[in-house]
């Protein structure tokens, strides 16, 4: 009885909770590295006027085709323009096109996919058929055709790349919605008198966002690559505007005289691809319950 007055020892704080999604996502470090790289690039692109050492379009015929030096880290091109400055300014266009096109594709594709999966029946059949037709074209050919028809400018480039992204997101959203529709909470929503729109976009959509976000991060890489490819073959934003694909293309003409012309913008593209894929893989590991712990 003597210890009855003694205060009960405070229970030790033991966390029995499963490691959080963030912990799971960052365990391998890929997601963090990818995010840092992408954020770094976005910052550089956003502050291009402050960061770039030279005017990307300023020509200096006396200094053409100079290799990497302390003054021109990435060298200069045939017109004497600073390649580093052009790569930095090019990041603006390339990243902007990639992000905006992917966002547009994600929003439209996901909405259509949710509707298709939720309603089923004839609506679903029509949408699935249309998606299959779009998917039967290789993505690059599709982008090529669209830009060729619409004409090469920034707006059409974004539109074309967005359209090529749509079917992929229709598929992902439709599939996830089909699975989600069978869940009991959807029946419960119906029993509570909620309308189709509310159920689709307030209840089903948040439940499928994990898959959509993973897919979007991977598609971002594809979109940036498509933009670079289209610019490379001359169907991108017309010169002299600097874009990564365009700089590679320009460097191609003088490749034997200056390896740096194409290598540095190519490395920029490579770096973005790697970073976005690291993010995609990290997010997938974080959201996939079957991923190895």
């Amino acid at each position: 009885m003597s210890d009855a007055a003694a205060p009960a020892p405070a229970p030790a704080k033991v966390s029995l909770a499963a490691p959080s999604a963030w912990r799971r996502a960052t365990r391998s470090g890929g997601l963090v590295v990818g995010l840092l790289l992408v954020i770094g690039m976005i910052l550089v692109a956003a502050f291009a006027p402050q960061v770039a050492p030279y005017d990307p379009d300023a020509q200096d015929v006396l200094l053409n085709l100079v290799g990497p030096t302390a003054d021109h880290w990435f060298g200069t091109d045939a017109f004497g323009r600073d390649v580093l400055s052009r790569v930095i300014w090019g990041a603006r266009i390339s990243l902007f096109v990639g992000f905006v096109a992917t966002m547009a594709g994600v929003v439209f594709g996901t909405v259509v996919g949710v509707i298709s999966g939720y309603y089923g029946g004839k609506v679903d059949k029509a949408i699935t058929a249309a998606t299959d037709v779009l998917l039967s074209f290789p993505q690059l050919i599709m982008g090529l055709m669209l830009v060729a028809v619409l004409g090469p400018n920034l707006q059409n480039l974004i539109l074309a790349i967005a359209i090529t992204a749509v079917p992929a997101f229709v598929r992902v959203a439709r599939g996830s919605t089909l699975a989600m529709k069978e869940r009991d909470f959807v029946d419960a929503c119906r029993a509570l008198g909620y309308g189709d729109l509310r159920i689709m976009f307030l209840h089903v959509l948040p439940n499928i966002m994990d898959e959509v976000v993973v897919m979007a991060s991977l598609w971002l890489a594809t979109a940036i690559r498509t933009e670079a490819t289209l610019s490379f073959i001359g169907l991108g934003v017309p010169p002299p505007t600097a874009t990564w694909g365009g700089i590679v293309r320009e460097g191609f003409d003088n490749l034997l005289d200056g390896w740096w012309l194409s290598v540095f913008p190519s490395l920029a593209i490579l770096l973005v691809m790697i970073a976005l894929n690291l993010i995609g893989d990290g997010l997938r590991d974080a959201t996939d319950p079957r991923a190895p712990q």
Partner: protein, 331 residues
């Protein structure tokens, strides 16, 4: 039992001659046949029977939630709180659901949206049906959580379903179903997924709320123990037919239909040492359903007349106690 005039206001739910058909391989079969009943305020009607006998289909018909391509109400009338649901437009039915008629489901673990906070899910119906502001609905959600006895309700408003146990989730489901003070509550096996002590708590909670709110409860279950503890009246279904309808005590003291007897004989009881008697065979599938009495393929009392469908006949001396059997109705 056909078409009695509908007058009394205390009757919150009236079902008359409900026939629900479902489509199997391109053909329509009557999975619920000519079912009629009423549930008054403060009354609990238990719908019992084994799996596949039409209990849940009856509930879905009342809610207007039959999957359109494979299920339809082909005959009959369903009146909820004075509104004829069968004649109503889909928009009207949608407005009724969650407002004047609520439903709770068997699986509390999966019936809540995993990515939305509990408080929002309770408040959502109030915003939807009552046009409440977000703040007002949240305040009411706390009251509702207290009503269903969720401890430290205000702190748990923003908790997610995975932070709740099964019993607590079922309380949340009850709070959601009762948010708009409906007059009718359909409880489809509300305690089947819960362990026995939690089951008792949830049933006691439902009974209390029923008294407070004057709810009419349609309880769907295959657990006769649950029936004995909460029901006022019992309706036994078999193969889509109501085979016996009786006040709770009369049902347990003198089950009359051979299927009711068999159900009770198959229930374990402490006061009886004899072995449990299983019912031989299983419910025939709809395409194989015998003409006439649907229980005849498993019935020990079968006579030639069973090929004809027996009516639900009131037993002598008790108009509330009806049985659908030629032999037992004394024909």
């Amino acid at each position: 039992m056909s078409a009695a005039p509908i007058t009394a206001a205390s009757e919150a739910l009236q079902v008359e001659g409900l026939t629900t058909s479902i489509r199997i391989a391109g053909h329509w079969f009557d999975a619920v046949r000519d079912v009629s009943f009423t549930v008054r305020q403060r009354e609990t009607l238990a719908l019992v029977g084994e799996s596949g006998c039409g209990k849940s289909l009856t509930a879905l018909s009342i809610m207007g939630l039959l999957p359109g391509a494979v299920g339809r109400v082909s005959k009959g009338r369903i009146v909820v709180d004075g509104v004829d649901m069968t004649a109503a437009t889909e928009a009207k039915r949608e407005a009724m659901r969650g407002d004047r008629i609520g439903m709770i489901f068997q699986e509390p673990m999966t019936s809540l949206n995993p990515v939305l906070p509990i408080g929002f899910q309770i408040a959502e119906g109030l915003m939807q049906h009552r046009g409440m502001s977000k703040d007002a609905a949240r305040k009411r959600a706390v009251q509702l959580m207290e009503l269903v006895r969720i401890p430290s309700a205000a702190d748990r408003l923003d908790a997610y379903p995975h932070q709740f146990s099964g019993g607590m989730r079922q309380r949340v489901m009850i709070a959601m179903a009762l948010a708009c003070s409906p007059r009718v509550l359909i409880a489809d096996e509300p305690t089947t997924a819960l362990d026995v002590t939690i089951q008792a708590q949830v049933l006691a909670l439902l009974a209390d709320l029923q008294k407070q709110e004057g709810l009419a409860v349609l309880l769907i279950t295959h657990n006769l123990g649950v029936v004995a503890s909460v029901a006022d009246r019992v309706m036994v279904m078999y193969g889509g037919d109501v085979v016996e309808s009786a006040p709770m005590r009369a049902f347990f003291q003198a089950p009359t239909h051979p299927y009711s007897e068999a159900l009770l004989a198959a229930m374990p009881r402490v006061d009886r040492a004899s072995k449990l008697a299983p019912i031989p065979g299983q419910v025939p599938t709809l395409p194989d359903m015998p003409a006439g009495c649907r229980y005849q393929s498993r019935c020990p009392l079968r006579i030639a007349k069973c090929a004809e469908r027996p009516p639900l006949t009131p037993l002598g001396g008790d108009p509330e106690h009806g049985v659908r059997c030629w032999v037992r109705a004394g024909a």
